[in-house]
Chain length 186, copies 2
């Protein structure tokens, strides 16, 4: 069996995306994903913690990018602006809009996947808040700024994915941030 084919993880992720798209998330079993990828069901769980996690491969990279961008922001910039800029920078690294749209379609069709997405965003927010605190921002302000930044990113990302005529993601983020400033000034 020339079988220890390389990149089992990649094949599993691809197979899962295809099947989730073809017949829906709940309607596809882990056994089917594994079969299409040419591995065992057990192997699926060695690469992904659960059936949902396969859709969140990029979350680690995004979080790293955001944290690095926060570190790289000059001191003296306010916390909200710092997080906003970090989101812009990290957002620039997500150019594959087609994949994002397909993934979003799967996500919006399933509450349990939205839960996982929210957890990832909350984790991103918590990490950003910690990074802010390391730069001297007090805890409450750091939490609020980070959460606000995540909310801005989320809203902008949704707009970018859902609207074919939307500007690049970084621009969407900047515009949402500007809008937020105007709103809180009331």
């Amino acid at each position: 069996m020339a079988r220890w084919e390389p990149d089992a993880r990649g094949r599993l992720a691809l197979a899962a995306m295809q099947l989730y798209g073809e017949r829906g998330f709940e309607q596809t079993t882990v056994a089917e994903i594994a079969e299409r990828a040419g591995v065992t069901e057990r192997t699926f769980f060695r690469h992904f913690a659960d059936k949902r996690e396969v859709l969140f491969n990029g979350s680690v990279g995004l979080q790293e990018a955001v944290l690095a961008a926060i570190e790289a922001t000059p001191a003296g910039v306010g916390p909200v602006e710092t997080v906003g800029r970090a989101m812009e920078v990290a957002g620039s690294g997500i150019p594959e809009r087609e994949y994002a749209a397909q993934r979003a379609a799967i996500l919006t069709a399933n509450p349990s996947l939205q839960e996982r997405e929210l957890l990832k965003l909350a984790s991103l927010g918590a990490a950003a808040a910690a990074a802010l605190q390391r730069r001297g921002v007090d805890p409450l302000a750091a939490t609020l700024a980070a959460q606000t930044g995540v909310a801005v990113f989320h809203a902008a990302f949704a707009r970018w994915v859902g609207d074919v005529d939307a500007p690049p993601l970084a621009v969407c983020i900047r515009e949402a941030l500007t809008e937020l400033r105007a709103l809180t000034a009331d």
Copy 2:
């Protein structure tokens, strides 16, 4: 009605809280909860959609309170302030701090429960955004204002639960909102 044993739902919720607290969420099975409540496992799932939902009994009431408060806010108040006031009003209806603290301890020990909490908050935010739109606020602004309001509520709630010396919840919410305004003004 005094059918057989009344209030199966209440007994299930109580038993679940006790067991989750005693031995942890993942370590307690639905069968054990049902046994302590004196019903069948099947009956548990007739009252709660899943094992986590039993900890989110109050979410419906909270959402209703927030929506009612938004409706009751005079026109002319800005969207962020509207949501902030609604959170204050709804927060006044959550006086049982001991229960909240016990529940929070269980929640923070388990990511899957945090996922559900985040979903509830997101649902609250979406509902608030819809209510705002019904009052003439444009969609992006409504989303941002609602999300921001939820973030403020979440941060304030965490402070209130975690800090014995914290002021009443409504005050925590007002203070967090004030802090946010100062932050976004940068």
